[in-house]
């Protein structure tokens, strides 16, 4: 028997795609829940596992950098970096939910499960006839979480919402970016995905606690756009209390000296925040410019804020010939918050990251390796957190889930193979010879 983890014994049906839902089930899986991804041989999950047949022209080019050896083949859906990230500590079972026979299988799994999570556009589950009202008939204690962009009700219910969409509607995009450009220079970010995933995981666990207290299951209706608003309360409260519409500050923070400054080398940068007069004094001495300490126009937080452009010029002049890690350590030794803008090329060599063992080396049958993968973002004293199992090969847990969890016989299992519910390769996908 494997070790007992905090959520051992909790079974989660995972219908989530892309990043937001999968991040919720990463957290639940890391904590020890049995997360079972529902996949389909007929409908490749292009959003999560990537294009099942990337064009041959891609092979060996820099555009194929998301695949080991820049080669997506033989099975591209097992080899992409994105699913290698989001699939850890999860199982994979296949069934075709678009056929009634597939939905019957699904309902049998529902009877044996505690949680269902999905983050498709609102309407996806309705089309399949798998709404909470239907599902709870088979298992009244089930906890179901839906987390579309804007929630499962209201005028935007059916609107499409990817990370960059809900960031915009939720008011975050308006508050970031270069202050000397218009918004068209603002790069898309997908913070909304992991943030909503964390909230979904929390909500599901709260519902599990409620069920332990009362025996009742429930439905969770989460809006990713609202989740964005909940993380920028300063701007919301300033409007609601004072009628102030906050504008972008770029890398700055009101009342402080803060920015991102170029260092020696190729595209190297350091960030820093100076919040107090004492820190400013130390900083001037560090830069070798003690005379700045007595300048009235830099003498207080407000004065420095009003002359931030001039200070940026001074700092950039100082950092431009220095190593970004060197500036970082120097400032931190004086208690000033600073850090290198770490690149993917550097992160595996960072001594702190190495000391914490944040990245783990793992092999995978379809990828080889060992390669480095980010591990859990938290640790527990009695049950250390780690990647117990790399992302699942399509359908690799069919035997276990069909026979042990759902109790189908060997002959029923074989019939499902025949009927193309069960398998380990997409149907109708042309692949080169393996």
């Amino acid at each position: 028997m494997t070790e007992t983890l905090p959520l051992t014994g909790i079974r989660v049906i995972d219908l989530s795609i892309v990043w937001a839902g999968p991040y919720a089930t990463i957290l639940l899986g890391d904590l020890g829940a049995e997360v079972i991804r529902i996949e389909s041989l007929q409908h490749p999950d292009i959003n999560t596992r990537g294009n099942p047949t990337p064009p041959a022209g891609l092979l060996g080019t820099p555009r194929a950098f998301m695949y080991p050896d820049s080669n997506p083949y033989p099975r591209p859906w097992e080899r992409g970096a994105s699913f290698a990230y989001s699939g850890r500590n999860k199982k994979s079972v296949t069934m075709d939910l678009e056929r009634s026979s597939g939905r019957e299988i699904f309902m049998r799994l529902v009877e044996q499960s505690d949680v269902i999570i999905e983050n498709g556009a609102a309407g996806t589950m309705e089309k399949l006839g798998l709404t909470y009202d239907v599902i709870k008939q088979s298992n009244p204690g089930i906890i179901m979480c839906s987390m579309p962009g804007y929630g499962t009700n209201g005028p935007y219910k059916y609107f499409k919402g990817y990370g960059a969409n809900v960031e915009g509607v939720g008011g975050h995009t308006y508050l970031r970016g270069y202050t000397d450009m218009d918004f068209s220079g603002t790069s898309p970010v997908f913070h909304a995905d992991p943030a909503a995933g964390a909230t979904a995981a929390f909500s599901i666990l709260a519902a599990i606690n409620h069920k332990r207290n009362t025996g009742k299951g429930q439905y969770i209706n989460l809006s990713q756009a609202e989740n964005v608003i909940s993380a920028i309360p300063q701007a919301f409260m300033d409007y609601s209390m004072n009628g102030i519409v906050r504008e972008r500050l770029g890398n700055r923070q009101q009342g402080m000296v803060q920015g991102c400054y170029q260092c020696a080398g190729d595209d190297n940068w350091v960030v820093l925040t100076i919040s107090t007069d004492d820190q400013w004094k130390d900083f001037c001495l560090l830069m070798g410019m003690p005379e700045l300490v007595s300048y009235p126009r830099f003498s207080s937080g407000i004065a420095r804020w009003n002359n931030h452009d001039e200070i940026d010029g001074i700092i950039s002049e100082w950092t431009k010939d220095l190593d970004h890690y060197e500036v970082f350590h120097k400032l931190q030794e004086f208690g000033i918050a600073a850090g290198p803008v770490i690149k993917p090329q550097e992160v595996f060599d960072d001594p702190h990251v190495i000391a914490r063992g944040f990245y783990e080396a793992h092999e995978h049958p379809m990828i080889g390796g060992p390669y480095m993968y980010p591990g859990p973002v938290f640790d527990l004293s009695e049950t250390p957190m780690r990647i117990r199992k790399m992302h699942p090969v399509l359908g690799s847990d069919n035997e276990y889930v069909y026979k042990e969890v759902m109790g189908y016989t060997d002959s029923e299992y074989d019939a499902f193979v025949e009927d193309q519910h069960i398998g380990d390769i997409y149907i109708g996908v042309d692949l080169p010879e393996e």
Binding site: Y67, N213, F236
Partner: protein, 407 residues
């Protein structure tokens, strides 16, 4: 009955990530006792914005939002008597959450082992900048440092300019929610399997392990040693038709082209079927539709359409054809947005200092055990309740304890 009713939390956190963790526990029904150090309490009480721009310990909108429903007692953990009181509270607690610098709890004599000696079932969550181990454990962190060292900043901004942070303290909120989820998960492990343990959250790692483009590209770098793009701008994010932010008649809108097969939706949206035959916009470059050689022409087409419409009109027309096009909302737009109003996301909360103020509510609605958002406490508001009613001190004892800087 709240989803977390009956769970008792002692809250030693301050500023943002820790208090956000205990806020959501409180909103769903846990009893959270916030322990504040005299005389001025959580430093977040001093952070803007303030009601009517008047700074004061009870008027920070950020603090009021982050501490809804908690009870506040003042207690000086540096005093011997203060620690005795704390240990008495630990006896009755399920979870202690703290966000001091690493080793602070140990130096106060409040290590997890000593708390367990008082209550063998108690759990502890420690939230720190870089974690409780490792060479940077004493280092300082602000939001921009967290984003930079969390790997995501390098990919945000324009290729020929400095990387850009995200707004305000967004990613600290994400970290706080991760702390809440994992604290609750660990708590369920105690309830189901008898596992009482100590949870270690490093803020910077919540960003490093956050699922997004740059973190995924770190894996890809481990695969190939290649890293094609530094900053990810609108033009190199995804090379399929319009992706990015465009001006419109009254503001800005954004399009996410998630799928190369969406080209017909785009053509339908801007009502220009002749584009299907246009040689400039035919499939090229590994099956993606958008040929970057014609980016300027594509942008001109999009702008010709968007600039005739308001952001709300663009959003409705785009969504009607299945395009992921949406408005860029200012906070005023957010406040008035029909979707958020329809869902009742905003809540009006009365408070002795500020009067009734509108707050963001909870993004997740639980059908059987919804969150209940109650106002934040005044500093030390629950001293009498906790010290007298719970711990049995006499009301006459309190002034002396205050004088001795215990509370």
């Amino acid at each position: 009955m709240g989803a977390l009713s009956g769970i008792k939390v002692l809250d030693l956190t301050q500023y943002i990530a820790g208090p956000y963790c205990t806020k959501v526990l409180s909103d769903y029904g846990a009893e959270v006792i916030k322990i504040e150090r005299p005389p001025s309490g959580d430093p977040a009480r001093g952070l803007a914005p303030f009601k009517d721009n008047q700074p004061g310990l009870e008027s920070s909108g950020l603090f009021l939002y982050l501490n809804t429903g908690k009870k506040s007692i003042s207690l000086n953990l540096k005093s011997v008597e203060g620690r005795k009181i704390f240990f008495r509270l630990v006896k009755e607690a399920d979870i202690v959450v703290e966000s001091y610098a690493p080793d602070t709890m140990e130096s106060l004599g409040l290590s997890y082992d000593s708390l367990k000696a008082m209550n063998s079932n108690v759990m502890m969550t420690s939230i720190s900048n870089f974690g409780r181990t490792g060479p940077y454990k004493k280092y300082k962190l602000t939001d921009i440092v967290m984003y930079a060292m969390g790997l995501t900043m390098y990919g945000t901004g324009m290729s020929d300019r400095e990387p850009q942070k995200l707004a305000l303290t967004l990613i600290q909120h994400q970290a706080g929610m991760i702390a809440a989820a994992t604290t609750l998960g660990a708590y369920l492990g105690r309830e189901m399997h008898g596992l009482s343990q100590h949870l270690d959250i490093a803020l910077v790692e919540t960003q490093l392990g956050s699922i997004d483009r740059t973190a995924t590209q770190a894996i890809a770098y481990s695969y190939t040693g290649n890293f094609p793009h530094a900053r990810v701008t609108a033009e190199n994010a995804v090379s399929i038709m319009p992706m990015g932010i465009y001006p419109c008649a009254d503001g800005y809108v954004t399009f996410v082209a998630a799928n190369p097969l969406w080209w017909p939706r785009f053509v339908k949206m801007i009502e220009m079927p002749e584009l299907f035959e246009d040689p400039r916009f035919q499939e090229k470059d590994f099956g993606f539709v958008y040929n970057l050689d014609y980016k300027d022409e594509m942008d001109a087409l999009v702008l010709g359409w968007t600039t005739q419409l308001t952001k709300q009109e663009v959003m409705e027309k785009a969504q009607a054809t299945g395009m992921a096009g949406t408005s860029i909302n200012s906070m005023e737009d957010v406040y008035k947005d029909p979707q958020f109003i329809h869902r009742g996301f905003f809540v009006d909360i009365d408070h002795p200092t500020t009067g009734v103020v509108r707050y963001p509510g909870t993004p997740a609605r639980l059908s059987e055990s919804p969150a209940e958002i109650r106002r934040a406490p005044l500093l030390g508001e629950h001293n009498k309740e906790i010290y007298c009613d719970v711990l049995g001190y006499e009301i006459e004892d309190l002034p002396l304890m205050r004088e001795q800087l215990v509370i």
